[in-house]
C-alpha cells in the first residue's frame, strides 16, 4: 500500500518535470529557461531520493546531495552572467 502511494507520488512528480520542461523549451527569455531548469533540478532531487528508497540503495542519496550542490552553483553563476557581473 505504502509502496503504491510512493509510486503514485513519483508519477505526479514526473508530470511536473514534464511541465517544467515544456516551459524550458517555450520560455521567451533566458531567465525563464533558467527558472524552469531550477525547478527541474528540485524535482529531480526528489525523484532521485525516491528511486534510492524504492531500490533500497542508500548510496544514491549522496548523488542527490551533490547534484543539488552543483545545480545551486550553476544557477547562481548563470544569474551573475546574465547580470553581466561575470
Amino acid at each position: 500500500m505504502a509502496d503504491l502511494l510512493y509510486q503514485i507520488a513519483g508519477g505526479i512528480a514526473l508530470v511536473a518535470l514534464l511541465l517544467a520542461f515544456i516551459r524550458m523549451i517555450l520560455g521567451p527569455s533566458s531567465a525563464d529557461r533558467v527558472v524552469a531548469l531550477d525547478v527541474m533540478t528540485i524535482i529531480s532531487i526528489s525523484l532521485i531520493v525516491l528511486i534510492s528508497v524504492l531500490l533500497g540503495r542508500g548510496i544514491y542519496m549522496d548523488i542527490a546531495l551533490v547534484y543539488g550542490l552543483i545545480a545551486f552553483v550553476g544557477v547562481v553563476a548563470i544569474a551573475r552572467y546574465l547580470e553581466r557581473g561575470l
Binding site: I12, A16, L19, V53
Partner: protein, 119 residues
Amino acid sequence: MELAGAIVALLGSIFLFLGALGLLRMPDVFNRMQAGTKASTLGTVLFLVGIALGQQEGAVVGKLVILILFILFTNPLSSHALARAAHHIGIPLSKKTVKDDLSNDVIKDDDQHEEGGAE
C-alpha cells in the same frame, strides 16, 4: 508510520505539480519565479519528509535531514539571484503590474561598468 509517510510524500508531489503548472501558466518571469520556487520548495520538503518518515535506518534519515536543510537554504538564494539578474537586464514585467520600485536600477548599455557595486 510508513503509510503516513507515503501520504505526506503524495501531498508533496501534488505541490510539485502545482508549482510546475504555475510555471507554465503565469504571465511573466517574476510570477513564474515565485510560483516555481515557493511551491516547489514546499513540495520537495514535504516529499523528503514523507520519505524520511518511512525509513528505519538512522544514516538514511540523517542524509535526508541534511538534504532538506540544504534545499531550504539554497533555493531562496538562487531564486533571489535570478530575480535580481532578470530585473537588472530589463526583462519586461506583466502588463497588470501596478508598481515597480526598482525601475531605476535597470542596466543601460552605456553605464554597465558602474552598476555592479552601486547598491
